[in-house]
């Protein structure tokens, strides 16, 4: 169960980096599939809440104990606390970006897609830091 959730979490997180990159590459050409692809990206950002929420609520408390008892307590207190709340804003950012594409404001959507890429990548790195923190 935990591994399945973890894979879903990682794959969906990677999709939130890869899909916006593809969207940005085709933003000027405005292909027919751009709206559908933008919608799919926003949908993934909402669906990602399910595995991430389950992992955080059910499985993270044991890791949290290890991190806080180790030599990197900040990995929980700063990194994980920030990560778990930044993650709540991913669906909002993706929905704004997709909404702009749907309403023909593709140019304005650019910076929101870039923010989605940066934030998703940062959250991934932060997850890795927390994982290392549990081993310290």
């Amino acid at each position: 169960m935990r591994d399945l959730l973890l894979f879903a979490h990682i794959i969906a997180g990677l999709a939130l980096i890869a899909f916006p990159i593809i969207i940005l590459l085709y933003l000027k050409k405005k292909p027919k599939w751009l709206k559908e692809f933008s919608f799919a990206t926003a949908a993934i950002s909402w669906l990602l809440l399910l595995p991430s929420g389950k992992l955080y609520i059910t499985f993270y408390p044991a890791t949290k104990t290890l991190v806080k008892a180790g030599s990197w307590p900040w990995a929980h207190s700063i990194v994980m606390e920030t990560k778990e709340h930044w993650g709540l804003l991913l669906p909002i950012i993706a929905t704004v970006a997709a909404g702009l594409v749907f309403t023909g404001k593709t140019k304005e959507s650019k910076k929101w897609w870039i923010l989605l890429i940066i934030l998703s990548a940062l959250i991934g790195v932060m997850g890795r830091v927390v994982k290392i923190g549990a081993l310290k």
């Binding site: 809440l49 929420g53 955080y56 609520i57 307590p73 900040w74 207190s77 700063i78 606390e81 920030t82 778990e84 709340h85 930044w86 709540l88 804003l89 669906p91 909002i92 950012i93 929905t95 704004v96 909404g99 702009l100 309403t103 404001k105 304005e108 910076k111 923010l115 934030l119």
Partner: protein, 96 residues
Amino acid sequence: MAKFNFYLGAAASAWLLAILIVAAELISQFKTFLANAFTHHWIGKAVIVYSAFVVFGFLLQNKKSILNFSDEKAAWYSMLGSLIIIFLFFAIEFAR
């Protein structure tokens, strides 16, 4: 934008999340209330913030600006501001 204002929905939810985080960390009874009401404080914040996104997005659908800021700028700077405040708050709380 017609029908739904993605910008102002996002601005409202970004600020609300920052406020909820600070309030929940500084007032333990509020964090407990969120946990009791929604089974977990994180779920409570999520439900409130996403509800605000939808509600304010519809309520402010015809507004093009707020406090002399265009809705686009309000959303962008609110989102960046919220992200920065969240990180700084936890960093400061840890350092205290």
